[in-house]
Amino acid sequence: MSPPSDQNPIAMKISSCLLFALLIPVAQAQQPAPDVLVKSISEEVVAILKKDKDIQAGDTKKVADLIETKVVPHFDFIRMTRIAMARNWRLASPEQQKVLADEFKTLLVRTYSTAISNYRDQQIDYKPLRAKPEDTEVTVRSEVKPSGSSQPVSIDYEMEKTPDGWKVYDVKVGGVSLVTTYRDTFAGEVREHGVDGLIKSLAAKNRQPERSKAGKT
């Protein structure tokens, strides 16, 4: 009995080291750095876009599904809706807030699907992340180089650290925020028709048929 008990501390050290060694990659896998996350998701989505014949033929439903499964889980739609609503967020009841976030999410996913189905072979460059390890809000910067000579378009992701990993709460294309661009529209709608009016017009917009690809018509 004595030899094993003598070895125990060593065995424990080894096993705890092993456990540690196992845990670190797990923890990293759960919370990859924000720039790594953006890059890996974009590359995955782009790879599918390039391969999938249906998507290239203009199947917007399939693009939407792709975004729903790969991209949406990394976005914080509540925060996005809160930013777009600005002061009026407080006017909405918790139920209304939830409906608003759902409708806004649908709208953004559809918009993103339209944009991404226009994707051809543009090259995407990722800028080095300028952030301190303890930062909980960072901007991940990337650039899309369109074919031909035109200037690259910047795409910046505003991200926050949450217990479920880094989440995107705004996307800025060429400096134009996908979220704050809605502020005046939302404010006007709330001013004239109340929060329910805004929910109604978002829902109506989302019920409209998907617009066909610009290239086809």
Binding site: N88, W89, R90, R110, T111, G148, S149, G174, E189, A214
Partner: protein
């Protein structure tokens, strides 16, 4: 063109005078009622004529030709861009952009090929409105110009100077002049077909969406892609 310019000038004046008129949403857009009228006129013209022609242009000409056409005009623009670089004190960019013109005009066969970009001399986006902005001139009220689209009081004045400095504008023969104008406009519109389909999908109120996106874009350009951060979530006090 002289007529159009007079119209622009009149609108700019109207814009300045009507600065105190009240209206709904954005404080940057006191002329909203007037702007909305011009916007819907532009939108109708776009739907009826400009977009269909741009689509046909894109459908008929192969990508490489379209790229050549837009490179040609882009090369002419680079001259004025380099002047604006210098006016903004960005001498290195000014030299780079002028170098782009020299290089692309010769090796790039009158600018049809943009070899300078391939060599890493990136094109910049400058105009006189941005130069005024960098000198600290505020943008003034948002202004929708007939056919030309979104602008502001400041950028409208900038545009008057940009037009004077435009090489295409200085060509004398009216038919040549006009067909170059037309080709450039259609080529530019064709480049934006995808973007405009995204806006159609995105916007609840297209007028407000285009305005707010455009104002953010200009602010971004004036600060060369790095504008001072704005507060994202203003007070939680509801507006009444």
């Amino acid at each position: 063109m002289a007529k159009a310019k007079r119209l622009c000038a009149a609108l700019l004046l109207a814009g300045t005078l009507a600065g105190c008129a009240t209206s709904g949403g954005n404080p940057a857009d006191p002329l909203e009622p007037l702007n909305r009228v011009v916007f819907s006129f532009n939108d109708a013209a776009d739907r009826a004529v400009i977009k269909p022609v741009a689509r046909a242009y894109r459908a008929v000409l192969p990508g490489i030709v379209r790229t050549g056409v837009s490179n040609f005009f882009s090369n002419l623009e680079d001259i004025w861009i380099s002047v604006n670089d210098v006016l903004q004190g960005k001498f290195q960019e000014g030299v780079d952009d002028f170098g782009r013109v020299l290089f692309n005009s010769t090796f790039g066969i009158a600018g049809i090929f943009d070899f300078a970009s391939d060599l890493g001399f990136q094109k910049h986006n400058e105009d006189f409105g941005q130069t005024l902005g960098s000198w600290g001139v505020g943008s003034g009220a948002y202004l929708v110009l007939p056919i030309l689209g979104p602008s502001t009081i400041r950028d409208g004045f900038g545009l008057l100077l940009d037009t004077q400095a435009d090489l295409v504008f200085q060509i004398d023969g009216v038919p040549v002049h006009n067909s170059l104008y037309g080709t450039r406009a259609i080529g530019n519109r064709a480049n934006l077909l995808d973007a405009s389909s995204v806006i159609e999908q995105a916007a609840l109120d297209k007028y407000a969406f285009v305005r707010d996106a455009w104002l953010q874009r200009r602010r971004n350009l004036v600060h060369d892609g790095d504008p001072p951060r704005e507060r994202e979530e203003p007070d939680d006090e509801p507006t009444k």
